[in-house]
């Protein structure tokens, strides 16, 4: 067993523990936000303590999908392919977290779960669709170089939506809240809230690294089983 494989339970354990601390801080320690703070749902805002880290980590998944797809496309790297598939699977997992928690908060705060005129919401949904397409395509198609090329192309071009999604609230802010970090004079956040976000994001990132190593190991094992079965059949 390699050092990376041995680190998997530790990373997943530490990440999960950190997330439990984040949930405690978000639900118990963080103050309620009344109408004077600009919120109509004073308790539901606590969803954002976990929604935002989910969103940040989902971008790491999309970055892995992009990097892995590029490595497969340019160098025919097996490890690159596995990394891309891992990025698609985990990008999908974390973007699902965003797409579950966001509309629930929207329903409580805005009175509607979705706004089809808001660019941030829609580009993020398409990004999740890209991850879903690659993850399902890899799982349900024959494993050939042509299929890998096609899925990698989707992963590479789909990544173009990441900067667009990031900038969307700066360029066309509709309903989704504007940037709180690096968003200019009007942006900014309470230091305690930022602290909880950062603990949540760091914990989730550690969990994500553990899940990445575990998924890569799973794909490697699948590959070994396939090779053995092919040898047995021959």
């Amino acid at each position: 067993m390699s050092a990376a494989d041995r680190a998997i339970p530790w990373l997943i354990g530490i990440g999960s523990l950190g997330l439990l601390v984040t949930v405690y801080l978000a639900l118990v320690e963080a103050p309620a936000m009344g109408e004077n703070a600009g919120f109509t749902a004073p308790e539901a805002y606590r969803i954002l303590f976990i929604h935002v880290p989910f969103a940040w980590v989902s971008f790491t998944g999309f970055a892995l999908l992009f990097g892995g797809s590029l490595a497969w496309y340019l160098r025919r790297s097996e490890a690159g392919w596995r990394l891309g598939v891992t990025g698609a699977r985990l990008g999908l997992l974390y973007s699902l977290g965003v797409l579950i928690s966001g509309p629930i908060w929207g329903a409580a705060e805005w009175g509607t779960p979705w706004d089809f005129a808001d660019v941030r919401l829609n580009t993020f949904a398409v990004l999740a669709g890209v991850a879903l397409f690659v993850a399902l395509g890899e799982r349900n198609s024959e494993d050939t170089a042509e299929i890998r090329d096609s899925l990698s192309a989707v992963g590479i071009f789909g990544f173009g939506l990441v900067p667009l999604t990031y900038m969307a609230t700066r360029w066309w802010q509709e309903r989704h809240p504007g940037p709180v970090l690096g968003g200019g004079e009007d942006s900014g956040i309470d230091p305690f809230i930022l602290q909880i976000w950062l603990i949540g994001a760091a914990s989730m990132q550690i969990l994500f690294i553990g899940q990445t190593l575990m998924t890569m190991r799973l794909l490697r094992m699948e590959n070994e089983v396939e090779k053995m079965l092919t040898m047995l059949e021959a």
């Binding site: 949930v23 308790e43 539901a44 579950i100 928690s101 409580a108 094992m221 070994e224």
Partner: protein, 58 residues
């Protein structure tokens, strides 16, 4: 949507999502371990059969 209901629903679903993913991955890992073990055993018995037939031919 009710303020508290939204909070409980969101946290419940997100925890279920992460737990569900972990359980599914662990089950797939277990299944693969079993398949890998079975494949190794099959290869070993196949090589033994091959060795046996080689000896009988000699």
């Amino acid at each position: 949507m009710d303020d508290m209901l939204a909070l409980a629903l969101a946290y419940g679903l997100l925890i279920a999502l992460l737990l569900g993913h972990s359980i599914l991955t662990a089950l797939r890992m277990k299944d693969l371990d079993a398949r890998l073990e079975a494949a190794v055993e099959s290869m070993e018995s196949a090589s033994k059969v091959r060795e046996g037939s080689d000896l009988s031919e000699e």
